[in-house]
Every structure is written in C-alpha cells, then in structure tokens.
Symmetry: C2
Subunit: 401 residues, 2 copies
C-alpha cells in the first residue's frame, strides 16, 4: 500500500501536454489577464486598457446590498435568481427594451455576469462541430467560449471602413446546415459601433428563415451617443422565440465586482439554461442581487450622469486622437466606451501596444486580442478620468506616436 510515494514524485513538463485537454490547450494565449494585472498593479502606467467603469457603484446599490447583508441574506438564492429581481427585470425589459416576455418567471435567469449567461446559452444550443457566427473583431470571449463547448466559431468580418457595421449578406453566405446561432453585440466591444435597426431587421429575417438563435449581447446598452439609439433584437416583431438577450449590470450600473447579469428568452431555452446553471455556479450571489434590484429601482439619473461623462470623454479622446501620428479613426464610434483606431505605422498590434507601454507608460489592448480581423488596431477604453486621458495623450505625443 502506498509503496511508491515520496516527495520527488512529479509530473514532468512534457506530460502536462497529454494531461491538459485539447480544447483548453488550443485556447489562445490571451494577453488580457496580463494586461488587467498591469493595470491594477503598476501605478506608473495610465491604463486605457481594461473595459471597466472607473465609477464606483452608486450609493443606492451599495446601501441595498449592505442592508441585505445585515438582514442575513447570506443563504442561497433561487437558482434562476430572486423572484422579485426577475419581476423587476421583466418590467425593465418591457419599458426600456420593448421586449415582451410570455412568461417572465420562466424566461429570465440571473447569471454571474453576462459571461456565464453566454456560456450557458452556447451549451444549450451548440453540440460538437456545430457552427456559431461570431463578429470579428469582438469581445474576446466569444470564440474561445465556442471552442470550449467544442463548437466551431465562424467569424464574420467587421471593418473600420464602414464603422464596423455588419453586412447581412456576409452572414447569409456563411450559413451552412451546421449553423445554430449568430452572436451580435451592440453597442460593440471593442469597436464602439451601434447596430442600426435596419441591419438588425435584415439579420432577424436570416435567423427566422434558417431557424437560428440570435445571441444578442447588449452589455453596453446604456451607452449610445449622438444620434445613435440602442435597439434590442428581441423587440423586433416576431423575434421573441429566436433571441437570447444578454444584459449585464456591470457596465450599466458600474457594478462589475458584483458579478451579475441576466439572460432573457423563450422558456424552452431559459429553463434549460437554468438547469445548466446548477452546474456552472448554481446561483448568483444573494446579497448582490438586492443591490441589482436597487440598480433597477434607483433614480436613473445616476446612469444618465455616467453616460454624459462617457460622452464627454469620448469626444475628448477622439479630439486627442487626431493629434497622434500613428492612430487613425475612420468613423467615430457611437457606443460603449471604446475607440478602436487603426495603427498606421505598419506595426502589428502587439508590438505597437508593448512599445507604447514601454515608451509612453500608456496601456491599450492589442486589437488582435479581439480576433484576427482586429490585427492592426488598438483598443482604447475611455472609461477613465479626463485628466488621465489628457495625460495619456500627452505621453503618447511626447513619445512620438
């Protein structure tokens, strides 16, 4: 018994390649974690990197969470989320997004950020080898998530020439008999583009004709600027059954640390997703869900103020970008809190960003992190103070970029 064991028994480096699953070995070596680390730890760097509001969560949210904690709301919540929260979400979806659910209590599931919701959605509709159309460049999690569930991401290209809009005909061409879903993101990370109602309607036609589920990631719904307007795919006539809508509390209410989002869609899908939820994280944090209720109930001026502030920073950033020699914005972004300029000095994204970090102590995210069609771009987040934005571009100028 236990005859072989001694302190030195180790697995050799080369064996780990056999032990770690293929699906995970093939995950891209994301620089994202490293970038988040630098942004958090190196005080000498000005970060235009991570996609996170710089605002603390508004007081009503914090106070409601504290109240819940004091009242002993430290036990498990219902798996799909607190019933009162789901009711509020249904009212919010109706009022703000014009999405009418048939059976709200079975058509909403509260998740650990919309990330978990997206994973649950993919697990619900994608089997091995089935295809999901996904924007590129896009939120860096889409393609790896599809890989992780052994599906096939089929990227559709977004280009700065037309402000990163979707071309429905490209989507139509890429549909095969293995296609199960289309991912949309509006307003979009990393491009800042807002999809027009016309484009959404054309994609709606394609989804219904081909019986595809549309994953509509609307995490940045609150932040549309200028003349742009957020339209929820599920609000279009007849689309109730075909859309899973993903919302997040993180950006809209400046509460990413609460890890809360939600998905809404047909009960056949959402019930399955709630079942999957048992195996991904069981339920979202309970006291935090009380904070989320406060977010939906509070005076929405908190959100308006943040939006106004992001818009000012957006204008400032776009203004300052004009003075750089190496970054070019083809069409001004109208949503989220990102600009995604083209790098014009011929450098690859990663080299450009690393040189920038070294010489100017300013952090951006290399465009290729968001997919192959993001190569040659850099993502700038303007979710930071105006003074920091000014200082960052001063450094960029001094360093000759």
């Amino acid at each position: 018994m236990h005859h072989f064991l001694n302190e030195k028994k180790r697995i050799s480096k080369s064996r780990w390649g056999h032990i770690i699953s293929e699906r995970v070995s093939e995950l891209p070596d994301s620089e994202f974690e490293n970038i988040m680390k630098i942004a958090k730890e190196d005080q000498s760097v000005i970060s235009l990197g991570p996609g996170e509001p710089d605002f603390d969560a508004p007081a009503p949210i914090v106070n409601a969470t504290i109240k819940a904690l004091k009242e002993g709301k430290t036990h498990y919540a219902s798996i799909p989320g607190l019933p009162a929260l789901r009711e509020m979400i249904a009212r919010k979806l109706k009022k703000e997004n014009h999405i009418s659910l048939d059976d709200p209590m079975n058509e909403i599931c509260v998740t650990a950020g919309s990330t978990e919701g997206l994973l649950m959605g993919l697990l619900s509709v994608v089997d091995a080898g089935e295809e999901v159309l996904t924007p590129n460049p896009a939120f860096l999690a889409y393609e790896p998530m599809i890989d992780m569930v052994t599906g096939e991401p089929v990227p559709y290209k977004l280009s700065d020439k037309d402000g990163f809009q979707i071309h429905p005909e490209e989507i139509r061409e890429k549909i095969t008999n293995k296609t199960r879903a289309i991912i949309l993101n509006t307003p979009a990370n990393p491009t800042g583009s807002v999809l027009s109602k016309k484009v959404l309607e054309e994609i709606a036609d394609i989804a219904v004709e081909n019986e595809l589920i549309v994953f509509s990631d609307e995490a940045y719904e609150k932040f549309c600027f200028g003349k742009s307007k957020h339209v929820s795919m599920a609000s279009l006539n007849g689309m109730h059954d075909y859309v899973l809508t993903f919302h997040s509390f993180s950006k809209s209410y400046a509460m990413p640390g609460f890890r809360l989002g939600y998905v809404a869609g047909h009960h056949e899908l959402v019930k399955k997703m709630s079942q999957i939820h048992i195996y991904t994280s069981l339920a979202a944090s309970t006291a935090n869900q009380y904070g989320a209720m406060a977010a939906l109930e509070m005076n929405q001026k908190y959100v308006e103020k943040m939006k106004h502030s992001y818009d000012e920073r957006r204008k400032l950033t776009l203004q300052l970008l004009k003075n750089t020699h190496t970054l070019h914005v083809e069409k001004e972004p109208e949503g989220a809190f990102y600009v995604f300029p083209r790098i014009t000095n011929g450098k690859k994204s990663s080299e450009y960003v690393h040189t920038m970090l070294k010489k100017a102590k300013v952090l951006m995210v290399p465009g290729n992190e968001f997919g192959k069609h993001g190569e040659g771009f850099a993502r700038i987040s303007y979710a930071t103070g105006k003074d920091k934005i000014k200082e960052a571009f001063e450094r960029i100028k001094q360093a000759g970029f």
Copy 2:
C-alpha cells in the same frame, strides 16, 4: 426587408427538440430545483432537503464585506482572485490541510463556489469521450457536469453496507485507456461518509500509476464528527501534482450566498483553469472576497460552534431515525450534515419522498437524485434547528412512516 415578421411567428414545440443541444437534452430532469423552491416558498413544510447551513454568515464576514462595499470595492477583482485572499488561502491550506504548494499565487484560483471550480477542472482535463470515475451516489452535479463537457461519467458504487466507503479495487478495475480523472468527495454528500487515510493512500497509488488527476471535493472538510478526521488527498506524500483540491466557503463558514470557493493544484493546471475562468464568470465577486478573507482570519470558534451544533443534530437525527419504521441507517455517518437512510417499505425514492411530503409535510431529497445507486434511499439534511428536526420526526411518526 423584414418582410415576414409578425407577432405570431413562433417556434413550434416540436422544433425545440432540434434547437436544444443534445448534451443538454440528455441532462437528467433534476427535481432539485423544484425541491429548493418548495423549501423556500412553502412555509407549512419542514425542510430536511437542501444542503445549506441554516446559520447566517458570522458577523466578522458580514462586517468585512460591508466595509469593502463602503470603500468602493465594487470593481473587477483579479481573475484568479484577490492576491491577498490567495495568500491567505495558501496559509490555510498549509496549516489546516497540510498541503504545501510550490507557487501559491499560480496554484490557487478563487471560483464562484466550488461548482464552478469543478466545471473548470473538467474542462481542463477531459476531452470528448474521455472517462471520469465518479462516486455514485454522489453530489448531483458530478455526472451531468461530465456529460456537459462531453466526457463519460463512469460511476463507482458506494454501498450502505460498509458506510459508503470506496473500494479501491473497483476503481482499479474501471480504469481504461480513456480514463483521465477520479472524483472523490470527503466528507461526502449525500452519504455523510468520511474517507479513511488508508483508502486515500490506495487511490493515490492508483492515480500515480495511471497518471490520473484526482478531483478532491472537500466542501464539507470542517464537519467530521466522532473519531473521524478529514484528510486532504493532496497532503499525501508525492501527490502535489496529481490532485486538484476543491474547497468551498459556503458550508465551512455558512456563506453560500456569497458564491465563493477555490481550487488548488499544480500551476500547469490551475493556470489553464484561470484562463477558462475568463469564459465562465471572469472573476468572483469582489466585496464578497473581502468577506472570505475575514472568514479565514476570524476566530475559528465560529466554525467550532457550528460544528458542535451539527454534531448534536446528527446525534438527535440518528436517534429519532431509530423510531421510524421505513428508514434504516446501516452505519452512522461521520461527516457533512447528511444522513442517507435506506427506505425499507419497498417504495422507490421519488414516490417515498413525495408521499412523505404530502402526508407529513416533511421534505427530504430522493436518493436517486444522487445517481442510480442512490435509488432506494432518501437524503436527510440536519442543517436545521433541533426543534424542527424533532417536529419533523413527530410528523413522520404521526404519518406512520
């Protein structure tokens, strides 16, 4: 454009079977969610059902979380968890579990409960069709989780005849060239059994000889009663590389609503798991992680008091079970907060539990929820007040069970 759409365009019931993925269609129809719902919503029922401490989170945990919220800790945490929390976890693992890590900051990842950790672990080592040995009856998530990642669960049987101990020779017999991992759970849900060091050593031998990763789920580590003692598999000589250890804050510190757990293991695996974490939930709730630090730092008398209380309830439950006609305990459970008696009136688990609920207004969980070898048993959770336990058994007696 958008020519077809009208309010009535719906997906028919029969089409959903095509749309929903096979992996999810095949998930068992769990009664667990329904049971949790009854337990939360029907005040006339005494619940011996859900596996959740009845204690509120101790004051130091609540206070630390409130303090963090007030200080604006509402932003994203580092992906693998707050560095200070990971350092504390490493010290806790060394002191309490005798697990020495090589490189703690890269060998610990904080998760949304140990559920998410287990899923991340499976994704890291299991490809399609590969096998994972899993106890049966066991925590109801293991087998569906393995299915969900398109692996093959290979159940090994636990029997009440010997107090639900593992027979290492059965494990050895079930290993094939597709086996990648063995799941262990000690103290165990739903059986209350505690694995002996001898059994763990035998399984350690098997794991090393066959290069298998042991998933050691130790969510109930704090609750070992009588002469039983919790032994962590990763503390055995030479096992550092072969074990992923899963711990949870939920049970140990009565904070399930915080959704916090952690995994510890070789950095090659844990680094991959942290990468997966980006696609499952990104990071655990930030303020809650400050609560977790307080849990590790507080006077552990809070834990001792809960343990003492569970032990008293365990003894009471076992005593009262002797007076029933239809439930039989072969060997007294020594851990967790469950008893898993055999049903002796010939009824199947589900029918028995539903009749009990109807006639006695007492809720248990049908044994078959925990796997096929749980058929013919019922799970009783004694994580509830003594008065409720007494009242429950009074009702059981009155109803003639």
